[in-house]
Symmetry: C2
Subunit: 111 residues, 2 copies
DNA sequence: CTAATACATAGATACTTATCTATGTGTAAC
DNA sequence: GTTACACATAGATAAGTATCTATGTATTAG
């Protein structure tokens, strides 16, 4: 590439339309994505999605992953905090179900 | 809710179709999602996407975010490692551009 | 060649987080 | 009431990471 003009001044001026995505928006989106950016939580979501009625109790989720029950509870809490799953008590058990609308919102971010 | 039968034994058996998503698959997906689950990297991606030709050099990305140049380089490297952006040298500058196919793969994960 | 510029890399630090064990809470069975 | 069970919470620890400063590398200008 041959040029006589200093490239620095010609081409490296800030382009229009480069205002960054608002930090607060970026942070809330990142919070949602952090929830799914974990292998264990992805496995949990997949298990819930494949389960009957797309819901599962903790007892069904703990053993297949080989992690302790508190660890599973921790991950389910993270997913619930960002609205990806919902809690419902039935007797002794807590059933977690997918929140499909929230799920779809992630897809929309990348379309 | 009234029942005479111990609920534990009736309802808490592992359901079919509950085999977890393979750990290796979950890990590779998580690796991709971790790359976008950061507010600064989301801002970088948004800036590149909005820029002319959907590409930008580091000099255009550093100042608007108020972070040091090595920090921006660090984030761009993370994004490049998972294939979301590509590097191309032009003279002194490195231009980063979006990899739309990779971007779309994320959307497909949540559809 | 030397100097300047654009970006990457190395190393240090502070913050976050995934996991565990131990314990608490709430519901059901008796 | 007591006991058992399902799950949550608390606290500790180890691993990961976002950021900085300092330095290295590569290209261009002169």
């Amino acid at each position: 590439m041959i040029t006589k003009i200093p490239l620095q001044l010609l081409e490296c001026a800030p382009a229009p339309g480069n205002e960054p995505l608002a930090r607060t928006s970026a942070q809330s989106i990142a919070e949602l994505l952090k929830a799914v950016a974990d292998p264990t939580r992805l496995q949990l979501l997949a298990m819930i999605a494949k389960a009957d009625q797309q819901e599962a109790c903790v007892c069904n989720l703990t053993e297949p992953l080989g992690l302790s029950q508190p660890t599973i509870s921790h991950h389910l809490k993270k997913l619930a905090e960002v609205g990806l799953i919902s809690r419902e008590r039935r007797g002794t058990w807590i059933w977690y179900s997918l929140n499909k609308e929230r799920w779809k919102q992630i897809a929309n971010l990348f379309e």
